[in-house]
């Protein structure tokens, strides 16, 4: 279980999140929706400690941190190891081939030997349909291919939670579909996914759970059915803006 409790964050005098709390359950796909600037990315980044709230706490499985004071590297890394982020801009290492991008992280984490990691890389790259591009450099791949390699890289370190921050919004629809297919596949396998997206259809069809952010806090937390049937004026307004896009 992943739990963020009473987290707040301001950038200057822009109070982005105020006392927000949420729980992510294992084995299901949680989708975070909300208008642009509502703090979705910020909230997701808290889970991987790429951003730090000013107050509150985060606990993932057996590890927990309380925000506000100074955290040691060891504390940060012990919480961070439970999740891995897939970024909107892929962020593959351009100086490494596809197979190195995917096989090096578990080796550096001390989880697998080089030979095991190589095998695992082949396995996860096959999963995302990139198993035949091992020796390519990322620059020579399309955006959709890069994103699928990025998913494989996240899978390679075997995180408890896979975090996605608008993984397809930089992609043409056709390429986005390839990436979405991989995500649907992972979801149906019972992986724990947390997905920030503007793709309402994904929320409708794949999510077990929808969290809606508005005005600095969690405005809705429930099933997609409940969400799309909601008569909340805020949600209606959101759906009429993003639902047709």
């Amino acid at each position: 279980m992943l739990e963020l409790k009473n987290v707040s964050k301001a950038f200057g005098d822009n109070q982005v999140l105020q006392d927000a709390s949420l729980t992510v359950r294992d084995g299901e796909t949680t989708v975070i929706l909300g208008p642009s600037g509502s703090g979705k990315s910020t909230l997701l980044r808290f889970m991987n400690l790429l951003e730090f709230p000013e107050t509150g706490s985060l606990s993932i499985n057996d590890d927990a941190v309380t925000f506000g004071g100074r955290l040691t590297d060891a504390q940060i890394r012990s919480v961070r190891k439970h999740s891995a982020m897939v970024f909107q801009g892929y962020n593959l290492f351009p100086n490494q081939t596809v197979v190195d991008n995917v096989s090096l992280p578990p080796v550096l984490n001390g989880k697998l030997s080089k030979a095991q990691a190589r095998e695992r890389a082949q396995e996860v790259l096959d999963r995302v349909g990139m198993g035949d591009r091992l020796d390519e450099y990322p620059d020579n791949l399309s955006g959709g291919q890069q994103q699928r390699v990025a998913i494989a890289r996240a899978l390679a370190v075997d995180p408890d939670y896979l975090l996605f921050d608008e993984p397809t919004s930089a992609l043409d629809p056709e390429l986005a579909a390839d990436v979405t297919r991989v995500m649907v596949d992972l979801a149906s396998e019972g992986r724990s996914l947390v997905v920030v997206t503007h793709n309402i259809e994904f929320a409708r069809q794949v999510a077990k759970r929808v969290i809606f952010l508005a005005d600095g806090s969690v405005g809705f937390d429930g099933t997609p059915e409940e969400f799309f049937a909601s008569d909340s004026e805020r949600i209606q307004r959101y759906l009429s803006t993003y639902g047709t896009a």
Binding site: L50, A84, T97
Partner: protein, 224 residues
């Protein structure tokens, strides 16, 4: 014409000797040391300890902000006044190391800072340690970016060593000057000296080109 050729042929061994015993070893040694200094200065500058950041900035400011000629004079002629007497060789090594080190430190800092934030975040999400991030993500990418300007720093250094005659070292230029003075053939001699610099430059440019090609292997077409 034959007179000119025989002048060149006669002076060449002396000029080459000065090149091989002063110009090249001084440049090579100072450049290697400068790279070490630059890495240390960059680490200090990018680290978290404020006084070390200031020290690094001060160093770069001081050595980029003053002419190398003045630095040579201070070290060789100035320091004895406070009891520090260094040989011409040691003075030259120190001056060129610190001078080139300051430029190279700027180059390295700019290269590291030009690496997109997303690269560091990717390393974080994969739970890399600081050292692993430096070793596998930052250093290889920064080096690729730094290679062309560092090559230029080296070329500037080689040409800059022609100033060491002012502190009594007999480099290729100084030897050329002496021969020019005794043979009354300045044009011929200085052209010969220039040619030697051009040959060194050409070799270095070629090496630079090769190194860039290797380090750019993962960059898509445009300038690979």
């Amino acid at each position: 014409m034959t007179e000119l050729f025989s002048l060149w042929a006669e002076s060449l061994p002396q000029l080459l000797l000065a090149t091989l015993t002063v110009t090249i070893p001084l440049s090579a040694l100072a450049f290697v040391l400068a790279l070490i200094v630059a890495v240390i200065a960059t680490a200090m500058r990018m680290g978290r300890v404020k006084p070390l950041q200031w020290l690094s900035r001060f160093y770069v400011w001081l050595f980029r902000g003053t002419p190398i000629l003045v630095q040579l004079f201070i070290i060789f002629y100035g320091l004895p006044a406070i009891g520090i007497t260094l040989s011409a060789w040691v003075s030259a090594i120190i001056a060129f190391t610190l001078n080139t080190g300051a430029y190279a430190a700027e180059t390295l800092r700019a290269s590291v800072q030009s690496i997109p934030r997303g690269q560091i975040e990717a390393a974080k999400t994969l739970n890399y340690t600081g050292w692993q991030t430096l070793r596998h993500v930052i250093a290889p990418q920064a080096l690729r970016i730094a290679l062309p300007p560092l090559g230029n720093d080296l070329i500037d250094l080689v040409k800059g060593t022609s100033l060491v005659m002012v502190i009594t070292l007999a480099d290729v230029f100084q030897v050329g000057r002496q021969i020019a003075a005794t043979t009354f053939q300045p044009l011929a001699l200085y052209m010969e000296v220039a040619l030697i610099y051009l040959i060194i430059f050409t070799v270095l440019s070629w090496i630079q080109g090769r190194a860039e090609k290797v380090s750019n292997r993962y960059v898509r077409s445009t300038n690979a």
